[in-house]
């Protein structure tokens, strides 16, 4: 059965139909089997990804056991590998992205649904969606050539000067070499990447709330802040949490933009101004030169990333009511 819906013209088809006395059941059944089979491919793919990660990472898991998750050694000479620095980097950058990104996306969604005058809605919405469509490698370029120098000159250098020698803060916010690269920079780039994505889903959620609710709240004299705080957020709260978790799933697995700006250090530093690595950036950096145990360790990293994002995305999808947005 051809999958091209537009190949046949209308005329021949209506001719066929009028001549036909009995519908052909074989082609009918074939078509149904073809679509059922295609739908099952989706399941096969996810199972295949899961299996390939587990099988490919198995040698590393067997060799290093639970210590693989907690060890910080990454040494190709002695073939010792530990995942902790990459796991910590992934979690830190995602956390920074969330802390910065959630308020930004909520603000944009509230502006688009509650405050923007009618003529502004469309162009601003389009701009936000275009921002979501910009490929991650371009964010990486922008990050490396525009954002990194700015962070180095106006954030890392002055802040390091201020906090030097202070307890705790002096460790977390101190750049040994203020190049601009580092975990914080990667987290901020991620924030810019996931903001348009979360904002456009949240906007759709807020748009779906019946306007009667809003109008009655305004009618009893609520201010916009009170309407948002006591009417909209309780109504759409669960799906907004789901939307942010979708964004989190993106932030955890983002590769190129992070690889450009995180500095790709194998060691773990206590400071967010120092270079680090995430699971995705380490795999992208080392995979093509890796052999044997290193290859297996990298796939094992991918396996960890898969299960973390799988859990996050499952929760997100259970919370988000399906809207017509991707």
């Amino acid at each position: 059965m051809s999958a091209a819906p537009l190949a046949m013209t209308e005329a021949t088809e209506s001719g066929q139909l009028s001549r036909r006395t009995k519908p052909s059941t074989t082609s009918d059944r074939l078509f149904e089997y073809a679509s059922r089979g295609s739908a099952l491919i989706v399941l096969v793919l996810l199972a295949g990804i899961m299996l390939s990660m587990v099988i490919g990472g198995w040698p590393a898991f067997r060799q290093f056991g639970v210590g693989f998750l907690t060890s910080s050694v990454w040494d190709t000479q002695s073939d010792q590998y530990g995942a902790w620095p990459a796991i910590a980097g992934t979690l830190t950058t995602a956390a920074i992205a969330m802390i910065v990104g959630i308020p930004l996306s909520l603000g944009i969604a509230i502006f688009l649904t509650q405050l923007a005058p009618a003529w502004m809605k469309r162009p601003v919405s389009t701009a936000v969606e275009l921002l979501a469509a910009v490929p991650s490698i371009i964010y990486g370029m922008w990050g490396l050539f525009v954002f990194v120098p700015l962070v180095g000159a106006y954030v890392q250098t002055p802040v390091s000067k201020i906090v030097e020698g202070l307890p705790l803060v002096g460790t977390i916010l101190y750049a040994r070499a203020p190049s601009g690269l580092g975990v914080l920079t990667a987290g901020l780039i991620l924030a810019f990447m996931i903001t348009p994505f979360i904002a456009s889903i949240t906007r759709d959620m807020l748009d779906q709330i019946p306007s009667v609710l809003r109008e009655s709240a305004y009618g009893v004299g609520c201010t916009t802040w009170e309407v948002v705080r006591h009417v909209l957020l309780p109504q759409a709260g669960v799906s907004i949490i789901g939307a942010t978790m979708l964004g989190l799933g993106r932030a955890l697995g983002e590769t190129m933009a992070v690889t450009f700006v995180i500095g790709n250090a194998n060691r773990l530093s206590a400071s967010v101004f120092d270079p680090g690595s995430t699971i995705a950036s380490r795999v992208a950096n080392e995979f093509n030169e890796a052999l044997g145990m290193q290859l297996s360790a990298l796939i094992a990293l991918g396996c960890i990333l898969f299960f973390v994002t799988f859990v996050v995305l499952c929760c997100a999808r259970l919370l988000v009511a399906r809207v017509g947005k991707i």
Binding site: A3, L6, G107, F111, I137, M141, W225, A280, G302
Partner: protein, 293 residues
């Protein structure tokens, strides 16, 4: 009140909103506007940067010459441009029939059955799965066993990323087609598959096309899955697509932080081309959708 005064004096309006309430309200409005302005500012910043650095790097050579080796002068992006087009087309050719059929199953045959619900859920997970994992999967499936990188592996990796987008939009768009149309087709004696192909698909055509375009915009800039599948090199790829196939995203990645000026210029030119192609696709999908409504 004195007797010679009118009964009613219009007082100046005094808002009875407490200052604290007004302050929090104003704070919300100002912050929302600021955040939106920041978002738009970042978009124009990125586009502006691409134009400033990319346009100066554009020339006829970019489209006609192949990528320069390390330390050689000049060169262009002809091979990664063609390679990217080939890989994207390959990915779309694999993903579109499967995606359209799977979406059709969910909308017409599966409907509310258990298995259809599971497939929908898994499809949504695949939709946001990290693309680097898909690269790893295709590596273990098609690169490691066959002992070499190939354009085919790259095309399959891109197809896996495009598939869930097409499945989802196809299903959503077919569900919008009113049931009476299907019934009318069935009343003429057309079997279900004919009704689907000639009534439902035809009615949902514009929406399904946007799904395909969206998927294309999604895979055109994907870098991570190509790193381990199609790889990249500085010469023309084999017509058989075996061995590495040069492509724009990986070329940009490798050239951007290279120590050669002409490599960096080419990376900017490539970024400009790829971004505007993708944004053009996104705008096209919006136009098609808004024309339909």
């Amino acid at each position: 009140m004195q007797a010679d005064q009118p009964l009613y004096v219009a007082k100046p309006f005094v808002s009875r909103v407490r200052p604290s309430r007004r302050a929090s309200d104003r704070a919300l409005k100002i912050l929302s506007m600021l955040f939106t302005a920041l978002g738009i500012f970042v978009l124009f910043w990125i586009l502006g940067m691409l134009l400033v650095k990319g346009v100066s790097a554009l020339s006829i050579d970019v489209f006609t010459k192949i990528t320069p080796g390390p330390g050689t002068e000049g060169g262009g992006l002809a091979n990664p441009l063609i390679g990217s087009i080939v890989l994207t087309a390959l990915g779309m050719l694999i993903a579109t029939p499967i995606g359209v059929l799977a979406g059709t199953y969910l909308a017409e045959y599966g409907k509310a059955s258990k298995i259809a619900d599971v497939i929908r859920f898994i499809n949504d997970i695949l939709l946001s799965a990290p693309s680097i994992l898909i690269g790893l999967f295709v590596y273990t499936l098609l690169v490691a066993p066959f002992g070499g990188y190939s354009g085919w592996a790259g095309g399959v990796a891109l197809a896996i990323i495009a598939l869930p987008v097409i499945v989802r939009t196809t299903e959503d768009m077919m569900r919008l087609v009113p049931g009476q149309l299907r019934e009318a087709g069935a009343a003429l004696g057309a079997p279900p598959s004919v009704v689907i192909r000639h009534v439902t698909w035809r009615a949902a055509r514009a929406g399904m096309l946007t799904g395909v375009l969206l998927a294309m915009a999604r895979i055109a800039g994907e870098t991570a899955p190509l790193l381990f599948t199609a790889l990249n090199n500085n010469f023309w790829f084999e017509p058989s697509l075996m061995g590495g196939v040069s492509n724009l995203p990986v070329t940009i990645y490798q050239f951007a932080s290279a120590p050669y000026d002409n490599w960096q210029a080419l990376a900017w030119a490539g970024s400009l081309i790829i971004t505007f192609a993708i944004l053009g696709l996104s705008i096209a999908t919006r136009l098609i959708l808004s024309k339909g409504h």
